[in-house]
Structure formats: C-alpha cells, structure tokens
Symmetry: C2
C-alpha cells in the first residue's frame, strides 16, 4: 500500500469510528462495527490501533487538529471566550465525552492525550497570554499556569461533574472574572 | 433487626467496601468480596444497595459527612485553602478517585452525588463567601457561582485530567489569584 492510500485508509477508519460512536455510544463501539462501516478488514484496523480507546484518541486528535488558533490582533477576553467556547463544544460531542471518560479510566491513553493534545494547547495558551499581557502593559505578578487552570478548570468541571455544557454567557462571565484579577488596580470599581 | 443493629450493620458494610476498594481497586470490587469482609450475607447487601457503585457513593458520603466546616471567624483565604486541601485529599484516595470515575460514567449515581454532596457543599460555600464578603466590605459585582467554579474547577481538573494531587502551594496561589479579582481596587499593585 502506498503512503497516500494508507493515509486515506486511516482517515476513513477514524471517520467510521466517529460515525459508529455517534450511533452506538462508546460502550457498544466495536472494532468489527468500525471495520464494517469503513469497508476494511479488522486486521487492517488492528495493524494501527490496539484497542478502541486508541481509535477514539486518534479520531479526537484528527477532529481538533485545526480547531483553534489564538489571534494576537484581538483582545485577551475575545481570544479566551472563543477558546473556551470551542473547548466546551468539542467536549460536549459524543466523541469529546467519550475521550474524557477514557482519560479518567485509562492511564496509557491519558498520557498520550497529555502529550499529543493537552500540553500543546497549554503551551499555546501560555505563550499567547504572556505576550498579550506584555503588549497591554499588564505587570501583575501572576502565575500563568494557575490563570489557565482558572479558565479551563471550570469548563471541564461543568462538563464532567455537573454534566452541563457551559454556554456563552457563563464563559463570558468566567473570562471577565479571571481577567479582573490581573487588570491594573484602580479600575474605578 | 432493630434500628441500631441495622445502622451498625450498614456501617460495617460500608467500611468493608472501603477496605476492599483499597486492596483491589474498583474494577475488581465485588459484592461477594465485600460480604465476606463484612461477615454478612450477599442478600443483606442487596437489600440496601443494588450495585457496587451505590455502595461506593454511600461509603464516600459516610467518610465526607463531617469533613469540612467553614469558620466565619477566619479569613476567606484561610477558609478556602483549607476547603480545597480537604477536597484534594478526599479525591486523591482510592475511594475518592473511584467516586469520580463512577460519576463520569453513570448518570444515576451522578444525580445522587449532586443531590447528596455537591449541591449541599456548594450551598455552604456560597453562603460563607457571600457573608464573608459583606463582613469585609467587599462590594465587587461578582458572580459567586463562577468564583466557586474558579476555586474548585482547577482541583477537579488537576485530579481528573492531569492525574495530579494539587499541593498546598498550588492551592494557596490559586486562592490568592481568585481573591485578587474581588478585592477592592487600588491595592497598590
């Protein structure tokens, strides 16, 4: 199989994974069902992915690959509102919810998720926030990692524990409250 | 069976649940094992709990019943540092981690957890924070629910997704950052 055909086959299998997941849910997801949906043999799937959890991880990475970019010409607030809306949307799909449930249960997939998604997103967010604060002359002594946890922690918390999808109103207020802690004092409040 | 003996029996079964959980983990936890550890018949357990998930929920509620009280004579910071340390400790035990994994998977237990734990804790926290802010003359226009999410969201996030137990240093900085957003302006920063 040449490389183009191989890449196309992999994509087809990951798309079939998402379709099957949407129809049946993670518990009833099977390699057999995915193979049938993709029109390939089970052996083809097992050549690349040892378990259905690995398939879900790769399908998640495929879907989120081009999902969100920071825009340094726009404000801190607008960027984080967009990023958190995006995050809430992604993790409210069947694919996103399955991904979270797998991470909570499975240490190996959780490590892979950290390396291939979470740490990269964190690096982007931290570098955007650092530069934006410098541009806007904000010199507050803040711990960027903690600020980012204050932004994204509540989104994961609402989805995983409250089983809610945070809406734009919630997200906008959340970002306002986090930014209130780093803005220069004497804002007239 | 009289009521005292019944209560004692239930307690013994919940203690056995915790012991078995610590030894075997949730996946290998069985009603049979718990019955043997508690010295009761399986039928006695099934009379009160339909599944092992229900047993874990009640064991969790038993352990956390007297766990944390707010102290209105102490500062906002000190109260929330203690509360979050307590939260991080509870959810870092095998019992706490199993509880979280069940909540993510199981809608019925998740609803029961919300009613019998989360909503009560939230009510206590909100009323303490509201009163403490009034006492300290803080008039910032804040959304108490969002502030509480900014405090506890990162703890759940670190435990569930990063698989870390937040330490006292992290918690202290987190509480400082959240409080910075509600303190009167012109703090000299």
């Amino acid at each position: 199989m040449n490389q183009t055909k191989q890449a196309r086959n992999k994509e087809k299998i990951l798309e079939a994974t998402i379709n099957e997941l949407n129809q049946k849910g993670y518990l009833c997801l099977t390699i057999e069902g995915i193979a049938a949906e993709a029109g390939v043999g089970k052996a083809t799937i097992y050549r690349w992915w040892p378990t259905k959890a690995h398939l879900v991880l790769d399908a998640f990475l495929m879907v989120t690959e081009c999902a969100f970019q920071f825009d340094s010409s726009d404000s801190i607030k607008s960027n984080f509102v967009d990023q958190l809306k995006n995050l809430a949307d992604v993790f409210s799909t069947t694919l996103g919810r399955s991904m979270l449930a797998i991470i909570v249960e499975d240490q190996e997939i959780s490590d892979a998720f950290y390396k291939s998604y979470l740490s990269l997103r964190r690096k982007d967010s931290a570098s955007f926030l650092q530069q934006a604060m410098e541009r806007e002359g904000i010199k507050a002594e803040v711990n960027i990692d903690i600020l980012l946890d204050m932004l994204i922690g509540p989104i994961y918390f609402r989805i995983l524990i409250y089983k809610q999808t945070p809406d734009e109103h919630f997200i906008s207020e959340l970002v306002d409250h986090v930014i209130a802690g780093i803005l220069p004092a004497c804002s007239g409040k």
